[in-house]
């Protein structure tokens, strides 16, 4: 019901949210449609001009076409960021709802989460890679490790305050099971917060991917990644080669903006039923 309601509502009510989703998808499709091979590309061009012509965004210090690399960055950056966000959401939201129950188990779980979060999670990600091997999906695991606890805390604190509300008491009074209270009453009233957090997570994940790429986890050079391009390009900014970092930066910026817009619109569509 939720997905039918969501997609249906999107089409009927909110063309902007639908357009945003389409844009993100078309980003990924275009990235794959434009052929790109980093090896062939390297050292092929030495021009570093910016502007209309052969290289719209100029070339980087290895002579690679920045425009093509920005497009190619979407191939991995976007799917990894989105699936990392999705995994965090799918794990974090139910756990947060469960942890909002008054029980000794929930209390212990939250203390365990405190300990877990006290541990530097990037270090943990490196340890995991050392143990499990360096696969692309380790990036998703790392994003989920960092963000699932955030979703748990957020959803739990929202649910805790909602549990004090009269309509939750009413649900208990008509004999609702604990699961029904969680998924029919608490969850629908936390979607706004969850969506905002999800869009922030997706945006921030692009930065995490870059950090991991720098450590040699997940996306490895010469594969294109926006974060890695910004990092490489930042050294050139002081010597005047601003375009190497700026264009992938603009790509990240546009994606973050898109994610936020989609989340914002979705929240409006979903909260048609609620006041304010």
């Amino acid at each position: 019901m939720a997905s039918r309601g969501l997609v249906g509502a999107l089409r009927r009510i909110d063309p902007i949210a639908a357009a945003g989703v389409l844009l993100v998808i078309s980003f990924i499709v275009i990235a794959y449609a434009v052929p790109y091979s980093p090896i062939d590309d390297a050292n092929a061009h030495r021009e570093s001009l910016v502007g209309p012509g052969k290289y719209w965004f100029g070339t980087d210090n290895l002579g690679r076409d920045v425009f093509r690399r920005v497009l190619a960055g979407a191939r991995l950056d976007l799917p990894l960021a989105l699936s990392g966000m999705a995994v965090s959401l799918i794990l974090g939201v139910p756990l947060g709802l469960l942890a909002s129950q008054k029980s000794r188990w929930a209390e212990r779980f939250m203390r365990g989460l405190d300990m877990f979060q006290a541990f530097p999670l990037l270090v943990l990600a490196i340890v995991l890679v050392a143990l499990a091997g360096n696969h692309l999906y380790m990036v998703v695991v790392a994003i989920a490790l960092i963000n699932t606890p955030r979703f748990i805390r957020l959803v739990r604190s929202e649910a805790l305050s909602l549990r004090e509300s009269r309509f939750v008491e009413a649900a208990v009074a008509i004999g609702a099971t604990r699961a029904r209270v969680m998924f029919r009453h608490l969850l629908p009233n936390t979607t706004g917060t969850i969506l905002v957090q999800a869009s922030l997570t997706a945006a921030q994940s692009i930065v995490v991917i870059a950090a991991l790429a720098y450590l040699g986890i997940g996306i490895r050079p010469p594969q294109a990644s926006w974060g890695a391009m910004i990092k490489d390009g930042s050294q050139g900014i002081t010597t005047g080669q601003w375009w190497i970092a700026i264009f992938p930066g603009i790509a990240v910026f546009i994606c973050v903006l898109l994610f936020n817009q989609i989340a914002d619109r979705l929240e409006k569509v979903l909260s048609r039923g609620a006041r304010g």
Binding site: R166, F167, E169, A173, G175, A176, T177, G273, A274
Partner: protein
């Protein structure tokens, strides 16, 4: 035959690091099928706590609650859950008691989804529409959201939700106190009609003397988590015995401004429920209080066959022995 019986119920609350608040201190009363028992008292007297204890929405500290012959305090979570088809509650705040993301139809349907799983969707829909019709709302409210309707309509939805499983007992926790006067009268009339039709027992919680006089068969007057006087509403209103009841009744205004009433006033403030006074809880404020009042707590005792009072100054009924 009684439907609901509370037997010497106690409940206290404690916030982390805070003092213990003794909300309910040994309350007993019973309700028969089709009867309306009113609980009246000022804020902080423990009325709403009793409302929740009677349905075991709160756990009791001590005492027992019986519903339909079963001891609620010994039931498992699931057994209790199934009983909630037969006993339910309507809250004071109509808007807050409805899930803002749930359409009216879904809200009213939910008890059926929980308790009558054999019904088909069409049968459920029929029952929901029936319940909505009973509270004079009609099927066109089915698709609306709570914020799209008025306060009186929201309260009707709350009543329809309580009604849809055809319960025997409904707790009404100040169901009209947040409504306009004209709407209040409609809701009270609706509740009375539903009671006649379905032989419902009501526990009616209120601080409004006039409402209570209008709706209830029997009345329990509460002070600091105890019942100080209980009896048939007409009898208690005509002949209040406990000084607190007398003060409460004399505080109400007459509809005729020319009528001069003799006010019976209590001194001082209501004592804190975190630090209960010894003896009779009223003795510091009561004009006839003396050392005997401060010395011992007086339980409810019979004043007439149907009327009981917790005051040492009130004579015992001829047939009743004073409790030791």
């Amino acid at each position: 035959m009684t439907l609901v019986r509370l037997d010497n119920v106690y409940k206290s609350f404690q916030r982390a690091g805070g003092p213990v608040v003794n909300a309910v201190n040994g309350v007993s009363f019973e309700i028969s099928p089709g009867e309306t028992v009113a609980l009246i008292g000022e804020s902080g007297s423990g009325k709403s706590t009793i409302a929740r204890l009677a349905l075991r929405l709160y756990e009791l500290d001590a005492g027992t609650v019986y519903f339909d012959g079963r001891d609620l305090t010994t039931l498992s979570r699931d057994e209790l859950r199934h009983l909630r088809a037969d006993m339910t509650i309507v809250f004071q705040e109509p808007y807050e008691s409805l899930n803002p993301r749930q359409r009216i139809g879904r809200t009213v349907e939910e008890p059926l989804v929980i308790h009558e799983q054999k019904l088909t969707a069409a049968e459920r829909h029929g029952r929901v529409v029936d319940a909505l019709n009973h509270v004079a709302l009609g099927e066109n409210f089915y698709e609306r959201y709570p914020h799209e309707i008025s306060g009186g309509q929201q309260q009707r939805v709350g009543i329809a939700r309580a009604l849809v499983t055809r319960p025997k007992f409904i707790v009404l926790d100040e169901p009209t106190s947040s409504l306009d006067l004209s709407v209040r009268a409609q809701i009270l009339q609706l509740l009375a009609d539903l009671q006649d039709e379905f032989n419902l027992a009501y526990l009616f919680i209120s601080h409004d003397i006039h409402t209570v006089e209008y709706v209830s068969d029997r009345i329990c007057v509460m002070y600091l988590g105890q019942i100080v006087e209980v009896g048939p509403t007409a009898e208690v209103f005509a002949n209040p015995q406990h000084p607190y009841t007398q003060a409460l009744l004399s505080s109400s205004l007459s509809a005729d401004p020319r009528v001069k009433k003799e006010r019976f006033l209590l001194g001082g403030e209501i004592p804190s429920a975190t630090n209960l006074p010894p003896g009779c809880f009223l003795h510091g404020r009561c004009p006839s209080g003396d050392d005997a009042c401060a010395a011992a707590h007086v339980p409810l005792h019979a004043y007439t066959a149907t009327h009981a009072v917790a005051c040492i100054k009130v004579p015992w009924h001829a047939d009743a022995e004073p409790a030791s």
